[in-house]
Symmetry: C2
Subunit: 243 residues, 2 copies
């Protein structure tokens, strides 16, 4: 059994017993990543229960990150979480490829704006300082897994708005501006996805997510970019090794 299954006690609600049986099938590899689960109707018949109970069991497995729903296509077993080690220095794309995944980045919006009080507090910019906002959506194996708001210090990066953001931003900063992001302050916490993030990921407002904020500076300590990532809750595992 590769993962710890919290098995419900006898006398627990029926939907949790259905959930246990489905979780065991997933653990045993009888249904695998990205394979479609049977419909609620079929599951209800198989477990000799109602569709309401089947739906509760599926919702529980979804909340645990074991299955996910794809718009109008039904329920699927979640692929493995992408492992992210915040102490290491790799791009999303390199990290995904290393783990045998197919990454893709899609730029949703690029525009000039000014730092809010919130952004100023996070970065050391003054409220009203010019920034370029880049909104991107990122995919693993063609499933959208995160949307991000990237705030770039436009005074420090003249002409940045004109570049292609579908490629690696870190490589762009290094190649075009000779800027290496050497100081990073990273903050990660569970949150609920609200719009516009939820709709960009095709999930309902209130769906569980993981927020990853990254404030990056160059070698001289100058603020370069603030990246606010909103991941689907079942797509990332943060791993750190201390020795």
């Amino acid at each position: 059994m590769p993962e710890n299954i919290a098995t419900s006690e006898a006398g627990s609600p029926l939907y949790l017993r259905v959930r246990d049986q489905l979780a065991e099938q997933i653990e045993r590899g009888e249904v695998t990543a990205n394979i479609k689960l049977p419909s609620e109707r079929v599951l209800a018949e198989r477990f000799e229960t109602t569709r309401v109970t089947a739906r509760l069991a599926l919702a529980q497995l979804e909340a645990e990150g074991r299955i996910y729903r794809s718009n109008r296509r039904g329920w699927f077993v979640s692929p493995p979480r992408l492992i992210y080690n915040p102490t290491e220095d790799y791009s999303f794309s390199d990290n995904a490829v290393t783990q045998g995944r197919l990454p893709r980045t899609e730029t949703l919006e690029v525009r000039c704006t000014v730092a809010s009080a919130w952004l100023a507090g996070k970065t050391g910019l003054e409220t009203g300082d010019p920034v370029v906002l880049v909104r991107r959506r990122r995919y693993l194996d063609e499933r959208p897994v995160l949307v991000e708001n990237i705030y770039l210090n436009s005074r420090h990066l003249p002409g940045i708005k004109g570049f292609d953001f579908n490629r690696s931003l870190w490589k762009l900063l290094r190649d075009q501006y000779s800027v290496d992001l050497v100081q990073k302050k990273i903050e990660m916490f569970p949150t609920a996805l609200v719009d516009p993030q939820a709709s960009a990921l095709s999930v309902n407002a209130g769906t569980a997510g993981l927020c990853v904020n990254r404030c990056s500076r160059d070698a001289a300590g100058v603020f370069v970019e603030f990246d606010e990532e909103f991941w689907l809750h079942d797509t990332l595992s943060i791993q750190v090794n201390v020795a």
Copy 2:
């Protein structure tokens, strides 16, 4: 404005507009940590809406970690998340005190058991090897914030079962066994809380949580303890600085 408020667009559902107004009051400090919010009935009157809409707005704020529900006592503004830096070496209690919080640890269960296949895979033990399982609940300012299953290598720690686990385990290992936990592999991911974790934290099964797993070895690389922590989703912020 200390945090980024995703403000709903005009034309968004009414409950999200109620949510925005409540979020702004929280951000402005008009209602502060651990202060009780008005009842659903009062909120519905104040925002000239229904109790159903007020309840949806509260559920949304709860999912975001801005408010929490205390059993039968109503809704409260969430206190700040405890900051946890996995690359630093401090105990829960020391970390909490440093951040001005009052920690408390309560041992729920101590028993001898054997390593499951899951635990063996995580630790390098053989399935069936003897372990001592310690279940604890931890509080910040008397709010329960996590429950944990600690699996101790009993061959390596003779007599460990007899000690008091309401105190720091790391200090116990150092003082009584001269064991320092110098190698740690830490894994953190969002999850849904199921029983027995959910009921130990007085929340419903399916409530969002954050799982923190920590596999610790001594200087010689011998497995000492595996700690599986289940945090309420709104209580922890993981922070890492890279330079």
